[in-house]
Amino acid sequence: MVGDHGLKKFLVISAFLLPNLLGFLFFIGIPIVASLGISFTQWDLLSPPKWIGIENYKTTLTNKEFWAALGHTFYFIAGYLPLVMVGALAIALILNQKLKGITFFRAAYFVPVVTSWVAVSLIWKWLFNPEYGLVNYFLSQFGINGPAWLQDPNWAMPAIILTSVWKDLGFVMVIYLAGLQGISPSYYEAAEMDGASAWQKFWHITLPLLNPTTFFVTVISLINSFQVFDQVMIMTEGGPADSTSVIVERIYNHAFRYFEMGNASAISWLLFFIIFFITLLQLRIQKRMVGDGN
């Protein structure tokens, strides 16, 4: 039973939560529900929406460009995820030492994370400039004739992957750093007494004990990378020859260039289901892996 005291407490808590909840309700909750409804209609914003059932889902699933964009999104993830995780772990291991000025380096790696995507994309667009860009200048020092990067359909996606890894490295690194500092030194002391090498310590202590961190990072990064958009829009607009067209870029084009709100909503929901099932799968795997680790 909730007494007078309980009610008062509840009122106070609600009052504090209300602004946030209202914001969520009006700007996220209602639009999400509405987009589900809209996905069953044909709506160009000008004429009233027309109910067409699952037609939007049918056209999307039979649309070549949708599957191509999904393929490009997986290509992005396949390049981005391993690079950002291995890279971040490596840097976290280095920055976990007790060295002078280590906080400076930690901050330096974190700066790109708090920089806006627009600024980062514009800078990297210049770095990737085939004639005057620093990337190709650097390569030319080793006698390598760099590609045209963003103007070349084979190299545009790798360029976007590199940019994204550079920007997100700091975020993943900080999480790994937290994970590393949560490992009790007694494990390492015990291992040293048993004569374990540095590699053995990493492989048998650090990595297994980082399992929950790795899982968290994978889930977060995967969800984020399915929604890759800003860097694509600014650096290539999906080109050249659609080689960097990704799912969210499709949603944007259908909604705000072709004004097919129904179609765009349908793609959004398909993306939601893809992310939902992949995350569900990960949870299953996690139960096995992380459970063992502890």
Binding site: G6, L11, D44, L45, A241, N253, R257, Y258
Partner: protein
Amino acid sequence: MRNSFKFITVLFLSLILILTACSGQKTTSSKNENSNKAKDEKVTIDYFTFSPGDQHEKDLKAMISAFEAQNPNIKIKYEMASFDDYFTKLQTRLAGGSAPDTFELNYENFVNYASKGALLPLDNLLKADKEFDPSEINQKAFDAFQYKGKQYGMVESFSDVVLYYNKDLFDAAGVSYPNADWTWKDELDAAKKLTNKDKGIYGTYAPIQFWEFYKTIAQNGGSIFNKDKTKATVNSPENIEALQWMVDKVNKYGVTPTDAKMSGQSDGDLFKAGKIAMLRTGIWMMDSFKDTPFKWDIALEPGNTQKAHHFFANSLAISKDSKHPEAAWKWLKFMSASKDAAKIRVDSSWELPAVSNTDLVNSYLQQTPPQNRKVVFDALDTLVVPPVIPEWNKLTDTFTKELDLVKLGKKTPKEALNELQPQVQSLVK
């Protein structure tokens, strides 16, 4: 538990009440405002526009003050957006029921808005206005903004694309200047002589993209659709030949720089830097070429079997929901047909006003450079309008992808256009 559930219900109900009360109040208050305005006979007309940009905002302001001086009971409240954001914002405002009274539409998007019933037909306003004389406006440009026999837009300005050439580079290479008789072959011969790889100078430039494509095929007698736009004619032999010519200038003859060689610089920048001898671009660039250290002029574009020149036009339209159609009409008429607005446009080298007044046209022609300004009007004799269909953005995106592949040498013009033919056909059904 039960108590807290009740509490939440009450909370939500009271919230809903508050919200509805708020919105109720808003409508009544705005109604009051309206009736007040009617008493004062002073109305505010919103105007949403993309064409001024930073460069011409002051000219728009000048037009507004001229209009407000002539119509003391009408106030114009303008709002600008960049072209890239403009149509998203406009469509959202129309959908949200907060449409601006008047807004700008380019020819490409006009059909879409007219066909969806978002615009107020102007015919009754036109007829009721005894002062208005349609002959003050260029007839072709005026008629362009009709849809199914009704006038929906008032043309305010137009522009076209011509051939700019760097006289100094021509003199240095000992090549005679382009003239109206030139064909693609003459252009190529000259471009070969003008190209100087050591100095990074290229003979001629035209982008490989959809807009350039539909004009270039017209110069070879081709088109994207048949006359009534029911059938796509994308892979005709004329079109294949024209696209081949576009890419040959880059890949075979090397008289046009590749995208990689241009590395993010615009064609206008390269022309200004004296790196391009002949450039096809719009008359809106004249102002920015004004202070170049070299001499330049313009000429008609060379064609193959016939001449063809881009034609772009902007218009003003009234939202079907506008509460003040008469006042809005006055603003449209001012922007489209008045000498004052046209004069500001001409004096600031903005786009060309669509008025037929010869004094104004003459004052435009007297400005230099270019010496041969008359070409701007000569080009109108062979104008080709954008092949507009309601699915305009899809059409341009579909072409962009395949033209990219051709540009990169991944597909031959024939393969790309064969691929496009059924896709474009499906857009017109």
